[in-house]
């Protein structure tokens, strides 16, 4: 670990965004805790190998994402879409509608997004990383990052719209 990068300071800085990312992926607190713990364990044992200290964040998110994929033992080769192949089918969702939702409802909606798109969507909303860094974290080309994000965002907004309709219907029935 380089100078100024002691374990405690890295944990202090990144445990929260890492946990939130992990929670966005797993949709389960215990799994998110495990992934975050595992990421910091790997950092404690191998972090000293990282020469460029400005890459700590990317390194941690990459490690967490890999651990997530490994935990799922994904054997399926996912199709890659180019961005221009992604249909422009974003549902109409008003910001006010989202503001009315509880945080757990949005988190739950993210959990319903196809697993393939969940990590890009989580990084889209939770982190401000440049697309190049997101591509590094996910280990896929930028074009694929963007196509997965676009599809994932569309899925999330569809789920939120559907949830809004259902809750609206429930309110009417009451």
């Amino acid at each position: 670990m380089g100078p100024g990068l002691n374990f405690e300071s890295v944990v202090e800085r990144f445990y929260e965004p890492l946990f939130q990312f992990a929670f966005g992926l797993t949709h389960a607190e215990a799994d998110a805790c495990d992934l975050t713990q595992q990421t910091f364990y790997v950092w404690a044992t191998k972090g000293h190998q990282l020469r460029d200290q400005t890459k700590v964040k990317t390194w941690l998110f990459t490690t967490l994402h890999r651990a997530f994929l490994e935990s799922r033992r994904r054997q399926v080769r996912f199709p890659h879409y180019e961005l221009d192949e992604v249909p422009l089918d974003l549902p109409t969702l008003a910001p006010a509608t989202v503001n009315e939702l509880d945080s757990p409802q949005v988190i739950e909606a993210l959990g319903q997004v196809d697993e393939l798109y969940r990590a890009p969507v989580a990084l889209f909303y939770l982190e401000d990383c440049p697309y190049k860094e997101i591509a590094e974290i996910l280990g896929i080309p930028i074009g694929t990052v963007k196509s997965r994000m676009a599809r994932g965002i569309a899925q999330l907004q569809t789920i939120l719209t559907r949830g809004d309709r259902e809750s609206h219907r429930e309110r009417q029935n009451d």
Binding site: F7, Q20, G24, V98, F124
Partner: protein, 258 residues
Amino acid sequence: MTNDQAKQILQLYRPGTADAADPEFAEALEACERDAALKQWFSNHCALYAAIRSKLKKIPVPEGFKEQIIAERQVHRTPVWQKVVLAAGALAVACMAIMFVSSHIRPSEPHDFASFRSYMGGVAEKGYGMDFNSSDLDAIRTFLAQNKAIADYVVPENLQKNAKALGCVSTSYQGKSVTMVCFQTGRPVTDPAHPSDLWLIIAANTIAKDTPQAAKPKFEKSNDLITASWTVGNRTYVLATKGDAQFLSKYLSAAAVL
């Protein structure tokens, strides 16, 4: 750029991030400024992004989670003393491995007699610590015998007569025992720390594969020294000094030289 193309690009735009500086977004952002409908769509996109982001950012981290991570780290951390012990062990193993490998792969030193003569000449010339100081040849032999060094040698008669014994050194060459008896010829001593200037070196007659087996001395130059080598019984002798063969001959048996 059409509005649809602009929307396709801007749907991945994140307000308040470095995306604003991305050239790919820049053109689409410019398009927004020219079209009111697109601008409205973009405004909605930014508000929606902020709304979803704020909800997701509220994912609660379990209480005490940070402390738990740090505590786990301390459990897994190897104590310093353990690291020192491990490092010392690793170092010892590495040293042993290096010694083993070097002793096995080191190119074998030449086993010829010239090498032996040259090596011992170097020992004589470059200095050594006398194991036993005495001008008494009998005392020297006794000392060597007591120390399990080669002591069953015969000192040439003329050497006994014409040179003064100073002491002896018990050493080895390629694991084989070698005795060196040191003499002073009477020439002026240039280095009081090393008054010897004539050396009788005695080894087994198997010290080298081409050890001369004749009793008659064979004269050879070896570096700065003139040497005479011969073998009697199971002992091979080398008498060495600075000078020439004629000078050295004075210390050898007349019969042997002839």
